[in-house]
């Protein structure tokens, strides 16, 4: 086990320049803005004297590398600045919003797998048969629907007409949230399941053609038990790496979906910050999303190695 995971320190080291680069991009975003943060904070009330005072206070009179150093130093202390519009520390706002967005992301991941596994199995059981063509057509359509539009259509169907689910908002207890987050999570699940279905379908087809499945069949295994015991685990391995990449995509998608369903997560925070020109908050959310994707990338690599049966065999024999 230890030997198998010995790549982890190297992988972590490899992530260091990327993390560094992410902070650099987020830092330089501020310098692409027309004017500077001092102008943005003071707005119409700016006088030359007050602008100068604020610039000194924010360190904007220093050379750019010193400003970046200050930015990094603040970052390590968890200081992401003060939100212009809320007049509260940005870190506080971001940490309040993270659990909301993460529940949405995880819930939609679960729903996406619940949609994708059966559909991929159906498609793979008869390549190029009508059921396969139907599933493949669904993946093309699913890929071509704007996420927010899917959300609006689900609201139209399930909330307005059938009244099964609320139109939007966020509940008070975890159980409540499952109910409130169902439609938004389903929306995101519909938009990412085409990728899962394609991946699972092609790996299932290749597993179904393998010798060990032929052996299992010759011993009488068939149908759902064959799929569960012999096919799914092996076919799922390539999809693990896709789950990692998709998590980043889901965070991006949740920005828009949170607006559609009025969910108080990172997306709403980000969009409100954009509408109010609240730059520190925009910067903080972007930074969090970037770091999240980097961390998920590392975790995906670890999970992939841990799950890969070929690596498993080099350690000790599996029971």
């Amino acid at each position: 086990m230890l030997q198998r995971l010995s790549f982890i320190p190297g992988r972590l080291l490899q992530a260091v320049p990327v993390v560094f680069g992410v902070t650099l991009v987020v830092f330089f975003m501020a310098h692409l803005l027309p004017g500077d943060p001092a102008t943005a904070i003071l707005g119409d009330k700016a006088t030359p004297a007050s602008l100068e005072a604020l610039r000194v206070q924010l360190g904007l009179d220093q050379p750019i590398w010193a400003q970046y150093g200050l930015f990094l130093a603040n970052l390590f202390q968890g200081n992401l600045g003060i939100s212009f519009s809320f007049q509260r520390p940005v870190a506080e706002l971001v940490f309040q919003a993270i659990p909301v967005t993460m529940s949405l992301v995880l819930f939609s991941m679960v729903l996406a797998l619940a949609i994708s596994i059966p559909l991929a199995a159906i498609a793979a059981s008869g390549p190029n048969k009508p059921r396969d063509l139907l599933v493949r057509f669904f993946t093309l359509i699913g890929q071509g629907m704007p996420q927010f539009w899917v959300g609006i259509m689900l609201i139209l169907l399930f909330a307005v007409n059938l009244r099964f689910f609320p139109v939007g908002g966020f509940g008070n207890s975890p159980l409540d949230n499952l109910y409130y987050l169902f439609l938004p999570a389903l929306t995101l699940a519909i938009s990412i399941s085409p990728v899962f279905i394609r991946s699972l379908r092609s790996s299932t087809i290749s597993v179904l053609g393998s010798d060990y499945v032929a052996t299992a069949r010759s011993k009488g295994a068939a149908g759902a038990p064959l799929f569960r015991q012999h096919v799914l685990r092996n076919a799922a391995i390539p999809t693990v790496s896709i789950i990692g990449i998709t998590l980043g995509y889901l965070v991006g998608g949740s920005i828009v979906i949170e607006k559609v369903f009025a969910i108080p997560g990172l997306g709403s925070l980000m969009l409100n910050a954009i509408y109010n020109r609240d730059f520190p908050t925009i910067q903080a959310v972007t930074l969090f999303v970037g770091l999240f994707v980097v961390i998920v990338g590392i975790l995906t690599d670890i999970a992939y190695t841990a799950l890969d049966p070929r690596v498993n065999l080099t350690g000790k024999a599996r029971a």
């Binding site: 975003m29 990449i245 607006k259």
Partner: protein, 295 residues
């Protein structure tokens, strides 16, 4: 940019290898290609001839006839300003198709060239380029496009720049990978042994064989760009009103979802049809351009 569409190229390549025997047929027997050409062709005609096809001026308001249902005069009804929804839908094709297709050009050219150099020369240049690519891959497409459009200010130019700044990385990865595997092939080794210059080998011998993958990916990139522009429109960060654009039409329609559901539904259907057409085109091209076919 981390988007799952990036992964689809791999699947298409795998599928293509399986379909090797199928791909030896004339282009007009290539069903997805023909279907894609018909759908995309019709949409482009619709966009070009919008002034002739649309029954009304897309931004002309008629405050005496707001929020009407479908009728003989207004097939899809009118919006809250009394503008004809069908006409706005037709004119919207202009903006959304233009941005979707044109926004591919800069990242395609820039990313492909950079990826070709990185893959061909390797070494420290490759290492630096790939670390930069890793950094940009950390930001999801939508997050980065939204932030960049905010920073650069609203308007079509900003949207092109924002999309370009995000999506070049995929082309680097694809072309770099293709160039690295092409470098080992006999025809490249032969050309280099024959004393040809690096530039000649790269552009005359490797280029035509590796860019087909980038072209195939460009089709899913167009779909993603269209998603990007309609999403910006929906968030109120896209093309400024009153210009007709599908995303902002959905935003305006959402307000009246309980009473006039057509208004938010129909522009979305246009996006779905467009994406479907472009995806078919991509599938068809991947059959047509597969290197196996040239042998």
């Amino acid at each position: 940019m981390s988007s799952p569409t990036f992964l689809l190229v791999g699947f298409q390549a795998r599928r293509r290898a399986k379909a090797r025997s199928r791909s030896l047929k004339p282009w007009y027997r290539n069903t997805p290609l023909v279907a894609g050409m018909i759908v995309v062709g019709l949409l482009i005609l619709l966009a070009i001839f919008a002034p002739l096809i649309a029954p009304y001026d897309p931004i002309a308001q008629d405050l005496g006839a707001t929020l009407q249902g479908p009728s003989a005069a207004h097939w899809l009804g009118t919006d809250k300003f009394g503008r004809d929804v069908l006409s706005r839908l037709i004119w919207g094709a202009q903006v959304d198709l233009r941005v979707g297709f044109l926004a591919v050009l800069i990242p395609f050219v820039f990313g492909s060239i950079l990826g070709a150099f990185a893959g061909y020369f390797g070494g420290w240049f490759d290492a630096i380029v790939m670390r930069i690519v890793d950094v940009f891959f950390a930001f999801p497409f939508l997050v980065m496009v939204i932030v960049l459009v905010f920073i650069l200010g609203s308007g079509e130019t900003s949207i092109y720049l924002a999309i370009a700044a995000v999506s070049w990385v995929s082309y680097v990865k694809i072309v770099r990978g293709e160039v690295i595997s092409a470098k080992e092939q006999d025809y490249v080794v032969g050309a280099r042994l024959g004393g040809m210059s690096n530039a000649r080998v790269l552009f005359r011998h490797i280029g035509p064989n590796v860019f087909s993958q980038a072209i195939i990916y460009a089709m899913s990139d167009i779909v993603m760009n269209i998603m990007g522009i309609v999403t910006l429109g929906y968030l109120g960060l896209g093309i400024a009103p009153p210009t007709a654009e599908w995303g902002s039409m959905i935003l305006e329609g959402q307000e009246f979802i309980t009473t006039h559901w057509l208004q938010a539904t129909v522009p979305g259907l246009m996006v779905v049809i467009t994406s479907l057409g472009v995806s078919w085109l991509g599938d068809g091209l991947s059959d047509l351009l597969s290197p196996e076919r040239r042998k």
